[in-house]
Symmetry: C3
Subunit: 168 residues, 3 copies
Amino acid sequence: MHKTILITGGARSGKSRIAEGMTLQMGQPAHYIATAEAWDDEMRARIAEHQARRGPEWITHAAPLDVMGALAATDGKGPRLVDCLTLWLTNLMLGNHDWRAAGQELRAALPRQSSPVVFVSNEVGMGIVPENALARAFRDAAGTLNQWIAAEADEVIFAVSGLPMKVK
Amino acid sequence: MHKTILITGGARSGKSRIAEGMTLQMGQPAHYIATAEAWDDEMRARIAEHQARRGPEWITHAAPLDVMGALAATDGKGPRLVDCLTLWLTNLMLGNHDWRAAGQELRAALPRQSSPVVFVSNEVGMGIVPENALARAFRDAAGTLNQWIAAEADEVIFAVSGLPMKVK
Amino acid sequence: MHKTILITGGARSGKSRIAEGMTLQMGQPAHYIATAEAWDDEMRARIAEHQARRGPEWITHAAPLDVMGALAATDGKGPRLVDCLTLWLTNLMLGNHDWRAAGQELRAALPRQSSPVVFVSNEVGMGIVPENALARAFRDAAGTLNQWIAAEADEVIFAVSGLPMKVK
């Protein structure tokens, strides 16, 4: 049965770990669709840490921009975990791509999937309004994208201190 | 039946849309008490976007400071939506008004209302502690005001990714 | 009966007040283990405000770094409230202590306690990614510490607008 799940939460709220567990429960091997790019040492360390936690039950696909292509290539071959939407949005915006068009295309593709898809996303809009206009535009875009995916999702989870809270 | 509702959440968490739906369900036409002021183009665009979403079932009242007056003027005439408390607080603080006195006066007026009131507010205290002392004072004030209104409210909702989570 | 409780939330979300109420319900007098240090006037004012709210049913212990020692000294003598983990982490990091070792030691000590322990902690990871690398490291550490304590806790509460949401 096809299922779309969104796991959202703050930094280090345990959302990736929760998402990994839920994905593997739906079938193995599972596909890890990684949107992270190793721009610098800090990012490289973060990616390495995530990879070390994942075992051989995962097949990794790098998709900093082409999440749609990765979903098409893996459909029918087991559950997919997209980690994460917020980095995908960052890559889209930094590359001057049309994030609204890409987000709507992703949303429209979800009902057509035959294998499950779990999305990890970040809450970035609960701090003080940023002074920087680009940061404000980013947090507006991130919130909008979360709403689009949540509207299509069968299940939405908000991670707090490593624990799941059911939203939908 | 009089009812007080608070909808809180991060930026672009869907709180205004949820609040609009709940307000219209309690009666039409409904009164939209807008605390936003068009300081700059970004704010003007945001206000225009909100207005475009609202249809003719709304009567709009601009109340950047005098929310009490707007509530008094509309009581008994249908449900009211105050969008939002955080901008009202911003206007009070920028104008050097006594936000504590104004907030307590608002809180005290709620049990006397005969028509429903729905408040939209923002969560601004879940990021890193701001380096700027004014920003710290603002987020403390915003949290305090939310607590005062939530204490009087019959229903409190926390919006995540466009979806409502019941708090009270 | 021994119980470990974690109350987390944003700035001015009412988490300390909720925690104080839950601690006193488990026995009186209760022990207040304070991690705050009066670095400056703003912090002094915040500490004074917290103290003014607490009555004679509290015995206060200052423990900016040695939370383990304060727990050992008070075990068997009534419920303890540690307020808060995030300031403890700040003190550890500013003093160049090994916060990971200290956090794991604290976590390991929890199952051995005979009196209840209530922890207050802060959500700091739901804003825009900070530009400052130290701030990023701090929010990662704060999230990790919250996860460790939440994993041991019997009960975890997320405070929103002064109201408790049950997480665990």
